[in-house]
Point group: C2
Chain length 193, copies 2
């Protein structure tokens, strides 16, 4: 190994790590951080097939643009594959490492819950439903990579209240079940506050 600084291999390993945790660093900043010339950094990126800063930023923007929308935005969590409005519905959610705890690869409950909630809302009417009460059981842990299949069924309707059961399975094995009480608002004439 060289006496001045670290070896090429080590530098490239560090480079990968650094850019993974912060994709917003320029070659110049990297060259200063590693005490090498800017050309060395560029050769490293070439070898490791890491795109330039602007491409990296664009990738982050494009990837997360849709991700945030589907998580945070108005859309359903998971892919809607069947819907009989007012009666039943199904959705599929393909999980990956980003849904899970790093150490255990166990998918966080919030994502399973989000899929269940959103299919429950979808079978009623996404725009005007609010969750009232949910009675939830996680039967088995879900791991990153598992494909979650959620089934929702409306069991009772009373006025603007809907009772919806949601079951989620992974390879025929039930991992979640929950009863959702949804209350629909009358957005048209509800200015009596």
């Amino acid at each position: 190994m060289s006496r001045k600084g670290i070896s090429k291999k080590d530098r490239q390993d560090n480079l990968l790590e650094k850019l993974h945790s912060d994709p917003f660093v320029t070659d110049e900043e990297l060259s200063e951080a590693f005490h090498v010339s800017i050309q060395t950094i560029r050769l490293d990126r070439l070898e490791l097939a890491i795109p330039e800063l602007r491409e990296r930023i664009k990738n982050v923007a494009e990837n997360n643009y849709s991700k945030v929308k589907s998580l945070h935005g108005g859309e359903i969590v998971g892919e809607l594959i069947d819907l009989d409005l007012g009666k039943s519905g199904m959705s599929i959610l393909e999980t990956d490492k980003s849904f899970a705890f790093e150490k255990t690869d166990v998918v966080k409950g919030q994502h399973i819950f989000a899929q269940a909630e959103s299919i429950a809302i979808a079978v009623i009417d996404a725009s005007v439903a609010l969750i009232g009460v949910a009675n939830i059981k996680y039967k088995n842990p879900v791991f990153a990579g598992d494909k979650l299949i959620a089934k929702a069924e409306v069991t009772r309707t009373r006025g603007n209240k809907y009772f919806v059961w949601v079951f989620i399975k992974v390879k025929q094995v039930e991992v979640f079940r929950g009863k959702f009480l949804l209350v629909s608002f009358n957005t048209d004439n509800s200015k009596e506050d």
Copy 2:
């Protein structure tokens, strides 16, 4: 108004709309779309204080990077303000329109659930806990802008099982309560699969 094409005002209105729905368009593409020179587009952007393409992309990337992380990533949902490990904890989550349904401004259950789940996990130990069973009640709707204050308390411990109650309030009014059963893994010696 000019006979060739549209007025300046209309073009600028359209420009704002277009860039809002798709921030990834270059000045050149815009100049072609509006049948004006590239300089006109740049003058328009200057007047409307719209940054250049690269800045726009960077903004999208930076905004969503943290959002996705806090929603999707390993961190806690909400801001941890108090923690007595193994006993109790508190967190605050400030909501905005992005947490809510567009039409009703009602905050989605998944976000409230995520805050509750993550404070429950935090009081045990974020790295090795998994949610087992949750018994949930939403007492009152939460609206965009509300500040959610979550309190978690460990009520019972039995082996690697923990019972945690979580209450969430908005201005002293309880909006959520839930009982979480957390099961901690022994990641050190769990290779007996």
